[in-house]
């Protein structure tokens, strides 16, 4: 849905113009717990949908009238195709003689992105993006956020007296923390289902001046996802190159990037491995 119909310009146009759009994660995964009032409202909608024998499911599109009554539904199996969702929406617009929403009303009801702060003092966020671009496997872009503590950020810095060319290995815990989310966007989404089988990161001092320190990064990882202990578990292998810059006076990281030089996701179909090329990028939030 996210990658197909909800990213279709015609669907976006209809939803923006005529509907008040909302999404709800049924398991509130990685999100704030749902309020009791919202839980009750979702239950009421599900109950009414079921009572009226409209199609439904966990992943589903509902259209509610202004008084909250369920007007129509479409399951993901059909709604993910714009050619199904567009006529579904157009029929409601025609049947209800809908007028476009006022621009001011749209602005007023649109959610403002929440500012998320690190949980640890002087902690920093690293964003992790992954994607598979092969035909038939493009489920878009995943974007996760990992927090590094101030001490973990310091591990990227060279030791006092280090010279250009000197290398050091970063603690495995840091590599594993960063690599935990390097699996592609798939129907399975829980990071807890991923196991980092191996992960290493090496830093090399490239240049150091009174103002700036430049560091080269190299790494590799092997993940199992979802990890169930079976030989047919998905496998992700990747090699990384990257760079980091630090303010030499403040001794703080000013940038950090890691990108896959090569990465592959292997899943199994009827016991046979199905390799897919993927790409991974990590970047420190400014």
């Amino acid at each position: 849905m996210r990658v197909s119909s909800l990213s279709d310009a015609r669907v976006i146009g209809l939803l923006t113009k005529y509907f008040v759009p909302a999404w709800v994660s049924r398991d509130a995964y990685q999100l704030e717990p749902r309020s009791e009032a919202e839980r009750a409202e979702l239950e009421r909608i599900d109950h009414e949908r079921s009572k009226r024998k409209l199609e439904g499911g966990t992943v589903c599109v509902f259209v509610l009238d202004a008084d909250g009554g369920v007007l129509a539904t479409q399951r993901v199996q059909r709604a993910y195709k714009p050619e199904n969702l567009i006529p579904f929406l157009e029929k409601i617009i025609a049947d209800k003689h809908l007028k476009p929403r006022a621009a001011e009303s749209i602005r007023a009801s649109t959610a403002v992105p929440a500012m998320v702060k690190p949980k640890t003092e002087d902690g920093r966020f690293v964003h992790v993006w992954t994607r598979c671009d092969q035909a038939g496997t493009n489920r878009g872009l995943s974007q996760d956020r990992v927090e590094l503590t101030a001490a973990e950020c310091q591990a990227f810095m060279p030791a006092a007296g280090a010279r250009p060319g000197d290398s050091w290995k970063l603690p495995d815990a840091i590599a594993r923390k960063l690599f935990q989310y390097c699996y592609p966007p798939l129907p399975h989404w829980k990071a807890a289902d991923c196991k980092v089988l191996a992960g290493t990161l090496k830093a090399t001092l490239i240049a150091a001046s009174a103002e700036e320190t430049r560091i080269k990064l190299e790494g590799e990882m092997k993940l199992s996802f979802p990890h169930t202990g079976k030989p047919t578990d998905g496998r992700i292998t990747a090699q990384f190159v990257g760079s980091a810059h630090a303010d030499a006076r403040k001794h703080t990281l000013t940038s950090l990037m890691l990108v896959s030089a090569q990465a592959e996701h292997v899943w199994f179909w009827q016991g046979k491995p199905q390799p897919i090329k993927m790409r991974i990028a990590l970047e420190l939030e400014p």
Partner: protein, 80 residues
């Protein structure tokens, strides 16, 4: 003569090493941007409300229907 050749070779090597480092960094930056720049993020342009209850209030106030998409996982991380 030998010293001059060595110095030239050394400076060529230093230049090559420096430009390789620069090229690497440029390549890394470009590749990060290419990965982030997805054509499948257009769904974020939809003026989503903050919650189902906020959408219900807006819908009632404006007398416009509510479009609700329910799913598992987390749409914001692209994992749903």
């Amino acid at each position: 003569m030998k010293l001059r050749t060595s110095l030239v070779a050394l400076s060529v090597f230093a230049l090559a090493a420096a430009s390789a480092a620069e090229r690497d960094e440029t390549w890394i930056k470009q590749r990060v941007e290419q990965i982030k720049d997805s054509d499948t993020n257009a769904w974020r342009k939809i003026p989503w409300t903050a919650s189902l209850l906020a959408a219900r209030r807006a819908s009632e106030r404006e007398k416009q229907p509510l479009f609700l998409f329910t799913h598992d996982g987390n749409i914001e991380t692209g994992r749903c």
